[in-house]
């Protein structure tokens, strides 16, 4: 009984979030007209409570719960805190958009909270079963969210593609896991690690299983050549949903990669390093080059996301603690930038019409100078221009690569970043050097405007003080 109590104590954030989500679900059923507003505020409260509880559990002495299935290490705490913060920000940005479209329904927040729960489960997973269950919980919510605007044929098409490819990816991941289970006789990450350390890694079957796991991961990340769903989903989903999909799941994908590759299969480093090199080279090159040809800004940002994922994987593939820390730093910064960028786009959407063509941004600098400036900062940061934190994010990744002697990869990454700068700067050119064809009025929401301004300015502030975040990332992954 004592052990159950400590288990429950350690898993308090998950339990509280599940209870709160169920409460929101029930309350919104009976609240009638107020259900959407109520769900919104209650969801924000639920996320705040969860974040406080995460902080509370981080002070608990125990590391494991539920028979080592649940791990509460600093990485789990960090990912959970970032996830709660990101989802709260996304809810704040998304609400004006959803209300304007008259599909402001409480289910958006409920599914969002369930997705967050999935991420929390993955962050604390120390067992293949839980990695998989957390992933499915997250993915199912995302599939349903993509088709939230039920009458849109684009969204339906995107959702079907996402669902089918996601199911295939889950199958791949499960297949790899089942082979590993057959070889090692365990689903526990630490036990698999120990087994591989004792028995050696020179088995073809191990590499075979690893390949399936890496393919499954690459699908979920959206790395080339498993990126096919990304552009369609980003473009087809309503902007507020794209905002959700572009941000929080990246944290989940990162923690899944660390749990599987580092915690479980670190012994197979040389094998998965080679696989990741192929993925990153393709992602960085294709993401940046294809993004140039896009005229739809959401599609362009999808390809840009693919190239950023290439960078995150570049950090992971170094296999060192600094590389992992650099990758976590990059992931957090990318989520910050993506939240801001899609936040601006969703706040600028008009009733019945998304701002989704690049040319729609023409003249934004003249009729809305403040949010054009925010967008400018975010674009500079995505391109990696100094004075914005995107520069440091790229710099740390390159440092870890050079440190591990992969100079050619670093040079390729720099070259492709230069190519990428073109399409980010094109956005800036449209905003400041072209005349507006039509004006996009910003939706009124003081809270969203404030958060968005902070989000944009944070990109500069973190350039001045990058060390606090970097040190935190290093400390988390040591």
């Amino acid at each position: 009984m004592d052990s159950l109590n400590s288990d429950v104590l350690l898993a308090l954030p998950e339990i509280a979030l599940l209870a709160a989500t169920s409460a929101v679900l029930l309350i919104s059923l009976y609240a009638g007209r107020a259900s959407e507003a109520l769900a919104y505020w209650l969801s924000l409260a639920a996320l705040a409570i969860t974040a406080v509880l995460v902080d509370f559990t981080s002070m608990q002495p125990e590391l494991f719960a539920f028979g080592e299935m649940y791990i509460n290490d600093p990485l789990a705490v960090a990912i959970k805190l970032f996830a709660c913060l990101t989802v709260a920000t996304v809810f704040i940005y998304a609400r004006p958009y959803l209300r304007q479209r008259e599909h402001a329904r409480a289910e958006f927040y409920i599914l969002g909270l369930f997705a967050t729960l999935g991420t929390l489960v993955m962050a604390s997973a120390h067992n293949f079963v839980l990695v998989y269950l957390g992933l499915e919980l997250l993915s199912l919510c995302l599939y349903a969210l993509v088709v939230f605007e039920r009458d849109s044929s684009d969204a339906s098409e995107a959702a079907i593609k996402y669902f089918v490819l996601g199911a295939i990816a889950s199958g791949m991941l499960l297949y790899g896991m089942s082979i590993l289970y057959g070889l090692t006789g365990s689903l526990d990450l630490a036990e698999i690690h120990a087994y591989l350390g004792n028995r050696g890694t020179d088995s073809v079957a191990l590499v075979f299983a690893l390949a399936f796991i890496v393919v499954g991961l690459a699908f979920k990340f959206g790395a080339v050549p498993f990126h096919m769903w990304m552009p369609d989903v980003y473009q087809g989903a309503p902007t507020a949903i794209t905002l959700f999909i572009a941000t929080m799941p990246k944290l989940a994908a990162f923690v899944m990669a660390i749990r599987l590759l580092s915690n479980g299969l670190q012994e197979l480093l040389t094998d998965w390093q080679q696989m990741l090199i192929i993925l990153t080279v393709l992602s960085v090159v294709f993401g940046n080059v294809i993004a140039i040809a896009q005229s739809n800004i959401k599609r362009m940002l999808a390809y840009s996301a693919i190239s950023h994922i290439g960078f995150i994987l570049l950090g992971i593939l170094s296999g060192s603690a600094f590389g992992y820390a650099a990758a976590l730093f990059y992931t957090v910064i990318y989520v910050l930038m993506a939240a801001g960028t899609f936040g601006v786009l969703s706040l600028l959407a008009q009733p019945g019409r998304d701002l989704d063509r690049l040319v729609d941004l023409k003249g934004l600098g003249s009729y809305n100078p403040w949010f054009a400036l925010i967008m400018l900062l975010l674009m500079f940061s995505m391109a990696g221009v100094p004075l914005t934190v995107g520069f440091y994010a790229k710099l740390y990744i390159l440092q870890s690569l050079i440190h591990d002697g992969m100079l050619w990869l670093a040079i390729l990454a720099i070259l492709m970043s230069v190519v990428g700068a073109f399409y980010y700067l094109r956005v800036v050119k449209y905003m400041y050097f072209d005349d507006a064809d039509e004006q996009f009025r910003l939706q009124r929401s003081p809270l969203a405007h404030t958060v968005l301004s902070v989000n944009g300015l944070l990109v500069v502030a973190l350039f001045i003080f990058p060390n606090a975040l970097l040190n935190y990332c290093m400390q988390v992954l040591n």
């Binding site: 539920f66 329904r105 369930f114 349903a144």
Partner: protein, 195 residues
């Protein structure tokens, strides 16, 4: 032991026959009913293997829920069997080859050392398979078990979100309006000249 073997062959025989009948009968409703029989007899075989929980679940879930749903669908749809059977003779060789390959694969796999297991000992009469499974699920695997439950809840929420919509054309009563109705809303007195 002899009785057990006899019971096994009895159920196995019914299983094979009902499976064959299921794909050969002309009436689709009969086919579904034969499938129900096949499920039921395999549940009985599982009971013989001391897997009571699986056997009961098979009856409850497949026979009780899934097959009844099947039956409804089959009864509602107008299935043209003649059309579906048209290519039977033509596809038969391919089907036989696939079947033979599958049988060969099974024989090869079952003869590998991995399956060379010792015969498990029979459990005592008061041993409860369901109880053991339940204990495992609610102790060692309680956390994943709960998460699996949450996934099912999400599936329900998502399915309802995607399909439930306010119908414009449905006719529904509004009790409040019915109660508040006034005489003058319903009856109009028209004064006419008598003729």
């Amino acid at each position: 032991m002899l009785i057990q073997t006899a019971v096994f062959y009895f159920f196995a025989g019914i299983l094979v026959l009902s499976a064959l009948a299921m794909i050969t009968v002309r009436n689709p409703v009969h086919a579904v009913l034969f499938l129900v029989l096949a499920f039921f007899t395999s549940a009985a075989i599982w009971l013989l293997l001391e897997a009571e929980f699986l056997g009961i679940t098979l009856v409850l879930v497949y026979v009780g829920a899934v097959m009844v749903l099947f039956l409804f669908v089959v009864m509602m749809l107008d299935i043209n069997l003649a059309k579906m059977r048209a290519g039977f003779a033509r596809h038969l060789p391919v089907g036989l080859v696939v079947g033979a390959v599958m049988a060969a694969e099974m024989i090869v796999i079952l003869n590998t050392p991995a399956f060379d297991l010792a015969r498990p000992r029979l459990k005592a009469a008061d041993y409860s398979n369901t109880r053991e499974l339940g204990e495992l699920l609610f102790t060692e695997y309680v956390y994943p078990f709960e998460i699996a439950g949450v996934i099912l809840l999400v599936a329900i929420v998502a399915a309802i979100t995607l399909t439930l919509r306010k119908r414009v054309r449905t006719r529904s009563q509004s009790p409040a309006r019915q109660v508040n109705v006034d005489r003058k809303d319903r009856v109009r007195l028209v004064s006419m000249d008598s003729e």
